[in-house]
Structures are given as structure tokens and as C-alpha cells.
């Protein structure tokens, strides 16, 4: 497959949606601003023109009920895609997602199902502060009946999105805002990426770096920094957060005997704790060196100087790995920082 066709992450989601809407008339897209001039970073830009206002529509500010709308339409065999400008707004939808969407199939012993996709953008960057930056994947991963995916590459974005639409269950599809502009190879034809599979992005022998969503980008940079001191990191993009692909992680850890999990979210009862616990369960007698990282256990501050402290970055990841592998010398190593173009390039106002 020639890897020449490059799309951005946002374009990949657009294309996935477009192809599915063309293929399946029961797919529709709705949510605040989906038909507005900006079309949610271009991912929904002209659907209302292409498919009409029944299949791409704006809504009143009523997140709870609008989630319920999707659930009800899904019960009727439609395939709703509900778009949220910020993941934080899902906190208004928890009842419909967890008490309703996640339960219909089970409680009816399989009579009904809820094939619905909930798109949630994590709003990091440009002073998003406490209520526009949260990454709540672990809350959803906690709940049986929901699936949770958070692809990082444009390739996975397209494949996972098509998979999410065709999946007969409610799927929380997590998009990091800093990824929208990322470019990568995306085949034109329709394809799916199955859930429950992690992706080894870079091979390495010395440490397994498992990361989620934007932290994958940081982990890849950390890998470069670690190279300069002779540490060869394997970088795994978890992609699917529920279910989690423990096998791929575990296989890697068996090789490297060291594990660092970097979640794009808080640690406490988070994905990072879960990966550690799962890997430990698979390796009961021979647990590797490990560490986990995530957002600082505080509310996200707005001002840049504090926000910089809040998020792990390639340097803090590389240092953590170094400390883990070379116990006594780690604290003094200050790698040359790497340019985080996607963070710097992002400017307000939005």
C-alpha cells in the first residue's frame, strides 16, 4: 500500500463520516454547531448541504436530552453520531450514557441495541482551564456496555471511526484537539480498525512506553530524547481504552521488562492504573519495573506557566523513563527539549 495519500486527523474523521453517510442512510450527525460555518474543525463541514438538515443538524443547548435523542433513534435502528465541542460537556450526559445507552441491550436480554457514536473533543491548549480541558475516558471505561476509543493517527482515526459507526454499541470516540492538524497516511477506500487492539508505533528493547491520545505524540518525542542517551523505547498507542489490549502491552513488557504508562488524563482510578493492574495480572510472578504518569492531580489551571506543569511532556516522560531504568542518575539528566509544534502552533481564540 503506497503511503502517499496524506490527510489530517480532522480530514480523516470527515472522510470516514462522509463515506459511512453515503453508504448507510441511517447514519446522521448532530450536535451544537455541526452545521455552522466552522463545522467542528471541518469534520462536519458540509454534511448539512450534502445530506440535508435531517441528517446533519444543530441542536438547542440541551446535552442531556440530545444524548437521549441519539439513544432513542438508535433503538429504532438509526446510527446517530453526536458531536461535542468539549469532552467536559459529557458530564451533562452521564445519565443518558451510563444509565440508558449502556444498559438497554443488557436489560432487554438483547432485544434492543444502541448503535451510537459520541464524539468528544479534549480541549487542551490555549488556556482552556478547568472546564474545557478534561479527559474523562476512565469514567467511561469503568462502565460495562460502553466502548471507548481514542485514536491518535489519522489512519486509526478513519478506521476506528468507521468501526465505531458500524458497532452496535454506544462508543465514546475521543479526539484530542491538538491532533486535528496532524497529517498521516490515510487510504481513500473505506476500512475499519477493530477495537481492542493497541498499536505498536515504534519498536524498542529497553522500555515499553504505553500512551493515550495526545500523550502518544509526547511519548514519540520522548523516544527521540531517550535515544540520545542510548535508551531504546517501544512506543505503544493504546487506541482502544475499553476494551484494553493487554496482550500487546504484555508482550512488549516481556521483552523490555520496563513499563511506563502515560495517560492523557488523571491517574487516580484512571487508565494508567488499569493498564498497570492488567499487566500485573498477566505477569503475576515477574512484575516489571514500572511507572505511570498523567495529569497532575489538580484542577487544570488556565495560565500557561501552571498549565505547563499540569501536563506530562516529552521531557518529563523521558526523565521518568531514565529514572526508572537508571535509578541513581536519573534526576540530573536534562534532555534538550523538543519542539512541540502542535502545541505551539495552536493559537486562540477558540
Amino acid at each position: 500500500m503506497p503511503e502517499t495519500r496524506q490527510l489530517s486527523y480532522g480530514e480523516a474523521i470527515y472522510e470516514a463520516t462522509l463515506q459511512e453517510m453515503e453508504r448507510d442512510p441511517s447514519v446522521f450527525v448532530y450536535g451544537l454547531g455541526v452545521d455552522d460555518p466552522k463545522g467542528h474543525y471541518g469534520t462536519t463541514k458540509d454534511f448539512h448541504e450534502r445530506f440535508g438538515p435531517d441528517r446533519c443538524f444543530d441542536t438547542p443547548l440541551s446535552e442531556d436530552t440530545m444524548t437521549g435523542l441519539g439513544v432513542g433513534a438508535a433503538l429504532m435502528g438509526m446510527r446517530p453520531i453526536h458531536v461535542h465541542q468539549r469532552m467536559d460537556f459529557l458530564l451533562l450526559c452521564m445519565n443518558q450514557l451510563i444509565n440508558m445507552a449502556a444498559k438497554y441491550h443488557y436489560v432487554s436480554a438483547g432485544q434492543w441495541s444502541v448503535p451510537m457514536v459520541v464524539r468528544a473533543s479534549i480541549g487542551r491548549s490555549w488556556g482552556q482551564g478547568p472546564q474545557h480541558s478534561q479527559a474523562l475516558q476512565s469514567m467511561f471505561a469503568h462502565v460495562p456496555g460502553l466502548k471507548v476509543v481514542a485514536p491518535t493517527t489519522p489512519y486509526d482515526a478513519k478506521g476506528c471511526f468507521i468501526e465505531a459507526i458500524r458497532d452496535n454499541n454506544p462508543v465514546i470516540f475521543i479526539e484530542h484537539r491538538l491532533l486535528y492538524a496532524n497529517k498521516g497516511h490515510v487510504p481513500e477506500e473505506s476500512y475499519t480498525v477493530p477495537f481492542g487492539k493497541a498499536r505498536v508505533l515504534k519498536e524498542g528493547d529497553d522500555v515499553t512506553l504505553v500512551a493515550t491520545t495526545h500523550m502518544v505524540v509526547e511519548a514519540l518525542r520522548a523516544r527521540e530524547q531517550l535515544k540520545t542517551i542510548g535508551i531504546d523505547a517501544e512506543v505503544i498507542d493504546l487506541v482502544s481504552l475499553s476494551p484494553i489490549d493487554t496482550e500487546t502491552v504484555s508482550k512488549s513488557v516481556n521483552k523490555t521488562d520496563a513499563l511506563v504508562v502515560v495517560d492523557n488524563g488523571w491517574e487516580n482510578c484512571g487508565i494508567s492504573a488499569e493498564v498497570i493492574a492488567k499487566v500485573a495480572e498477566l505477569n503475576p510472578t515477574n512484575f516489571p519495573k514500572f511507572a505511570r504518569m498523567g495529569f497532575a492531580p489538580v484542577t487544570c489551571p488556565t495560565t500557561k506557566v501552571l498549565e505547563n506543569e499540569f501536563y506530562p511532556n516529552s521531557t518529563s516522560i523521558a526523565q521518568k523513563v531514565n529514572r526508572l531504568l537508571n535509578e541513581d542518575q536519573g534526576n540530573s539528566w536534562n534532555p534538550v527539549p523538543m519542539k512541540a509544534t502542535e502545541i505551539e502552533a495552536f493559537k486562540g481564540p477558540f
Binding site: D64, T65, L69, M78, V107, S108, A109, V114
Partner: protein
């Protein structure tokens, strides 16, 4: 209606045996709204109910055996025992399994009605909620959206005057459901006389309104729950309402009045037929099989 009453009375009688290991919210005394609305609905319409769902399930001609088996937690139940009394439903009667979180079926009704309109099915959705449910934000949001999109939605407020033990006066500054609906461009009407004929004719008119594309309609039906909020007993002793308050409701019991209109012999024949069906249903449920423990793992994902 008779079936509903007699089934529930039977549930109330056998409840102490612990055959039903789950809360039951009986509709005794308030069967009529479900019966009236369902009589006016078409087969391809959809209904959304609540945890107080026996009446709706039966009025919608849900399978009696499957319902009783469900209460007994048996495999033959309409949710294979996973649902229980609070979550009755059946795809074949267009009734999604109900929610025990108050008012949360309402947004789903919006979605169902949206799909009906989208598919041009000429079908409508009838969503039942209680008088307490109306204060949930989801109901206002839903009325707003239904009004906005002129969805084929009939909202039935079964106003039994209480949310558990709380009277309306402690919950609503202006206890006028039809007026509240109007603020969202949802048409409305109230049937306050506990009369089955009024309920039937108003339901029919409301449904005609909805089906003809004129947009959503809220139908308030005053009714009365005879039993305690949850469970088989009476609760006059609790003191939040009195038997005197209840007496007009007993006297105007639609089932009783309806029965009086039928010739005695026909009525007796009918009663004995229904009783027979009920006895059979409870027998079958009793003899039914519990699901295999491994079934716990089924249906987590579709």
C-alpha cells in the same frame, strides 16, 4: 383493564412469598390512562413507559406469561429475568424496556419520534411520565425539542398527585402541566374526571393531532394510585394522604364503572376467562426455569 387489575392484585397477594424478589410499583387504581391511550394507538406506534409499567405493558398487549415470568426472574420473561418489574418491555409491541430513573425515558421518546418522522413512518410515540417526573430538566428540554421539530410525540402525564410521598404543592409553584407545555409550543389537554370515556376520546383527539403532523401534544390524565408507592401494601397509615382523599377515586373507579355497564353474565364470563389466564401465567412462571448463571455474561455488548 380487568387483566391489569387482576394481575396486579395477584402480584400483591403473592408478593409476601418472595417469589418476586424485586421492587414492584403497582398501577392498581391508575390502569385507565394506559388502557385509554393504547386503545387509540396503532400497532406500529411506539410506547415509552416507566418503572410503574405493568399497566402499559398489558394495555399494549404485551404477553402476560412473559410479564409474570419476568417478575419471577425466569428465562421465559420478557427480559429473561434481567429486567424485572421495573424494566418491562418487548420489541414486538414497540415498547423499549423501561427505565427506573425518573423521566429519563422522555429524551429517548424524542429520539424514537425523531426516527419515526425521519423514516416517514406515519407512526407516533406515546411517552408516559408521572407528575413528579415533569420537573426534571430533561422533560423541559424534551418538550422544547419536540416543539421545535414538531415531532410526532404524545406525552401522557399520569397525574396521581404524588411523587412517592410528596404532593404536587411541594414541587411545583404552578401546577399546570398544559400551560408548561404551551411555553414550549407543545399543545395540551387535561382529563380530570377519572372517566374512561373522556380519556378515550381525548386520547384519540390528541393522537389525531400528533399523527396529522401538527406537532407534539401533552395529555394530562388525573388518576390515583391506590397502593403504596412501591410494594403491594396500603399506605394510609403513613399519613401523607388519607383514605377520605381517596374515596372519590374508589367510587369513580373506571374499572368498576365499566364493569357495571356490562351485563352481569357476560361480565362473570369475562372475569373467569381472565382469571384463568392469570392463574395459568402464574403457574407457568412458577414452573419456569431460572436462567443459567452463565447468562450473566450475555448481552453486555451487541
Amino acid at each position: 383493564m380487568l387483566t391489569i387489575r387482576l394481575v396486579e392484585e395477584k402480584v400483591a397477594v403473592i408478593y409476601h412469598t418472595d417469589a418476586v424478589k424485586s421492587p414492584v410499583h403497582l398501577s392498581i387504581g391508575q390502569e385507565a390512562p394506559s388502557v385509554a391511550v393504547c386503545a387509540a394507538l396503532e400497532k406500529n406506534d411506539m410506547v415509552i413507559g416507566t418503572y410503574r409499567g405493568h399497566a402499559l405493558y398489558l394495555a399494549r398487549e404485551g404477553d402476560l406469561d412473559a410479564m409474570v415470568a419476568e417478575l419471577y426472574g425466569k428465562s421465559e420473561g420478557c427480559g429473561r429475568g434481567k429486567a424485572g418489574s421495573m424494566h418491562l418491555g418487548d420489541k414486538s409491541i414497540g415498547m423499549p424496556h423501561t427505565s427506573a430513573i425518573v423521566a429519563t425515558g422522555m429524551p429517548n421518546a424524542i429520539g424514537v419520534a425523531f426516527a419515526q418522522k425521519f423514516k416517514k413512518e406515519n407512526a407516533i410515540t406515546a411517552c408516559f411520565i408521572g407528575d413528579g417526573a415533569v420537573d426534571e430538566g430533561a422533560v423541559s428540554e424534551s418538550m422544547n425539542f419536540a416543539g421545535l421539530k414538531k415531532l410526532p410525540l404524545l406525552i401522557i402525564v399520569e397525574n396521581n398527585q404524588f411523587a412517592i410521598h410528596s404532593p404536587i404543592s411541594t414541587r411545583m409553584p404552578r401546577p399546570n402541566f398544559v400551560e408548561r407545555a404551551a411555553a414550549f409550543n407543545v399543545a395540551g389537554a387535561s382529563v380530570m374526571d377519572n372517566d374512561l370515556d373522556s380519556m378515550l376520546s381525548t386520547s384519540q383527539a390528541a393522537i389525531d393531532h400528533v399523527r396529522s403532523g401538527q406537532g407534539p401534544f401533552l395529555l394530562e390524565i388525573a388518576t390515583y394510585r391506590w397502593k403504596e408507592h412501591v410494594g403491594p401494601g396500603d399506605d394510609w397509615a403513613l399519613g401523607y394522604r388519607t383514605k377520605e382523599d381517596a374515596s372519590p377515586w374508589f367510587e369513580n373507579d373506571p374499572l368498576k364503572l365499566c364493569g357495571e355497564r356490562i351485563a352481569a353474565d357476560r361480565r362473570l364470563a369475562l372475569e373467569s376467562k381472565v382469571k384463568e389466564q392469570i392463574t395459568r401465567a402464574f403457574d407457568r412462571a412458577e414452573k419456569g426455569t431460572f436462567p443459567d448463571p452463565a447468562e450473566m455474561w450475555d448481552n453486555v455488548y451487541a
